[in-house]
Amino acid sequence: MANIRLTELVKEFGSTVAVKGISLDIENGEFLIIVGPSGCGKTTTLNMISGLETPTAGEIMIGDRVVNDVEPGDRGLGMVFQDLALFPHMSVFENIAFGLRVQKMEDQEVQERVRAAAEALYILPLLYKRPNQCSGGESQRVALARTIVNNPDVFLMDEPLSSLDAKLRVDMRTELKRLHDRLKATFVYVTHDQAEAMTMADRIVVMNGGKVEQVGSPLDIYDTPMTQFVAGFFGMPTMNFLEGVLTSSNGDPIFKSGSLEISLPEESTQNIKDNKVVLGIRSEHVSVSDGALRGQARIIEPLGDASLVYFEFGEEEELVAKVSPELRISPGDQLMFSLQASHCHLFDQSDGHRLN
């Protein structure tokens, strides 16, 4: 079992800086998910932990030793790759046994361990097939079996579910979480899918442009995004953003954007100096059944358990609201809406940092 500590980790490729000084403590047995858009440096960070990339500066510790100069194979890691990286010319058995064969393990023990790993992932009948004879989900399990058979302390996963179809991906999420509970090993998982991160992680690291934007539990990140980027990255549909100014009327803080005026709770605006702000509000905190503001419905997207109502107000400004499916609204309908002031997030217009 091992914890991982990254200190001021930097990676440069020529003149491009992919990772700009990341410091992170990953607890023993934690399921940590690094999430961010493509090119944000998440895979590079994972590759530096695995040893496939050498950091330009900074330090990586696994357990209590610095591993910067330790070969990938000697770091006690297992890794599942985005394309799974199964050896196409070997049977499933030989794929799983690869790491054990490298260690020159006795044939008897190889047999036992491969079978045990295959059994744990329900792929015993596949052992003598070739990877190209396995379905997407089966290949996924083979890749996992190949990793768990070596009993690594740390599992690194680089978007392992991206090649699966939507339904299978959701099933595999649950299975991965179960696997984590059973193995109690440290999982570091990289994805660009915020839903994957929300559902599986103990803690989420949000990266953008080679830097860490926020670290926290899934609900922390959803409820209290520390930057506008994080707020926009998490949640479906994307959070509503309105640019405007903070003013006050009779001492009460008011957010003004075009024709829209919202009075905000006093304590939320206490420390705000600059008055140019971006107000963010999630679709579930926009009500269209009652309110004092007038809008017109444009597009309705029924999701089954809820409906998304995209509506316009003022000078072609648009908001989206998540409403009960029983509320029958058609495109073109006039509606009265309101925003729940207690759920408004305020961000700095210049650097996107959270203000309230």
Binding site: S50, F87, F98
Partner: protein
């Protein structure tokens, strides 16, 4: 009711289009068949000449098929005993059997193709994975193939016959010549085919995803182990194709072999040229027989390569 032109025209135009495409097919096939005949005719002439008696070789008007087919030409080139009556009749100072040249050709071509394959595969791996020589090296490596052999033939002769023996004598005290030796020819063939091997193996190696090697490394495999267990098995069919391709190149090489050998080492294309007698000039029959024998492995290997090429190029489907 009168059928309006609007409803009739689609059927008509479809028929017209079909007729047009059939006509086009006929024209295309006629051209291709004529072209094929033009290409195949010399080969046919060679094969049928190899079965002709000496009297028929240069008759005019030519005999399109041998009037009295004979195996005499093959008997002559495959004989073990060159003093035999019928053979000796046409003999000049040259031994007229194929065995020595066949042995030389097989040995030189196989050995040099194998060594070039071995070196080229590892070089291609280094170029592909470590960017050895910079990003343009993979293209510039082919430049060596653009030099016409005639340009290097004479300078090489200088090196092989004079410079190397001289240098060896000065440094080692013994005279070592590369001229007219199997080692000399093999070294030369390795050098001139290496660019091809690198070029071809690069294509095959680049098809192997990096992630396979990364996966092996994470599981503790060293570079050589990964190469042996992961990369080489995946490019094996590519190696077979490359080997055969290079073998064919060497097998048919004439100019350099002619310049750099005589009289000890003789490859088949060179032997072919030596078939003439003082009394009858060019011995077309035995030449045609040797030509036929030389061509057979080329055709067979070509067919094998074709199959392997398809197999080799299907590697793009590794990723599901």
């Amino acid at each position: 009711m009168v059928l309006s032109p609007d409803t009739a025209s689609p059927i008509q135009s479809k028929r017209q289009a079909m007729r047009k495409s059939r006509r086009r097919t006929i024209v295309r096939h006629t051209i291709l068949i004529l072209w094929g005949l033009l290409i195949m005719f010399p080969i046919y002439w060679m094969v049928q000449t190899s079965f002709k008696d000496s009297g028929e070789w240069v008759t005019w008007p030519p005999n399109w098929v041998p009037h009295s087919p004979t195996l005499q030409n093959y008997g002559q080139i495959f004989t073990f005993d060159i003093t035999k009556e019928g053979v000796a009749r046409q003999a000049t100072e040259q031994p007229f059997n194929i065995w020595g040249a066949l042995g030389d050709s097989v040995l030189i071509c196989t050995l040099s193709a194998l060594i070039a394959l071995f070196m080229g595969t590892f070089l291609a791996y280094a170029i592909s994975r470590f960017n050895v020589g910079g990003s343009k090296f993979r293209h510039s490596v082919l430049i060596i193939r653009m030099i016409p052999p005639i340009v290097i033939a004479i300078p090489l002769l200088m090196y092989y016959a004079i410079m190397v023996p001289l240098a060896a004598e000065t440094v080692l005290g013994t005279r070592i010549s590369l001229f007219d030796t199997r080692v000399g020819m093999s070294l030369l063939y390795i050098t001139i085919t290496l660019p091809f091997v690198i070029w071809m193996m690069l294509t095959f190696i680049e098809e192997v995803p990096y992630s396979l090697e990364h996966a092996a490394r994470i599981m503790g495999a060293g570079r050589m182990y990964t190469l042996r267990r992961v990369v080489l098995p995946l490019v094996a069919s590519g190696m077979v194709v490359t080997f055969l391709f290079v073998f064919i190149l060497n097998w048919a090489e004439f100019l350099l072999a002619l310049t750099l050998t005589h009289p000890d080492v003789t490859t088949l294309p060179v032997l072919l040229n030596k078939f003439q007698s003082a009394s009858e000039g060019r011995l077309y029959g035995p030449q045609a027989a040797i030509g036929t024998i030389i061509t057979i492995p080329v055709i067979v290997l070509g067919m094998i390569i074709q199959k392997h090429l398809i197999k080799g190029f299907s590697f793009g489907t590794i990723r599901k």
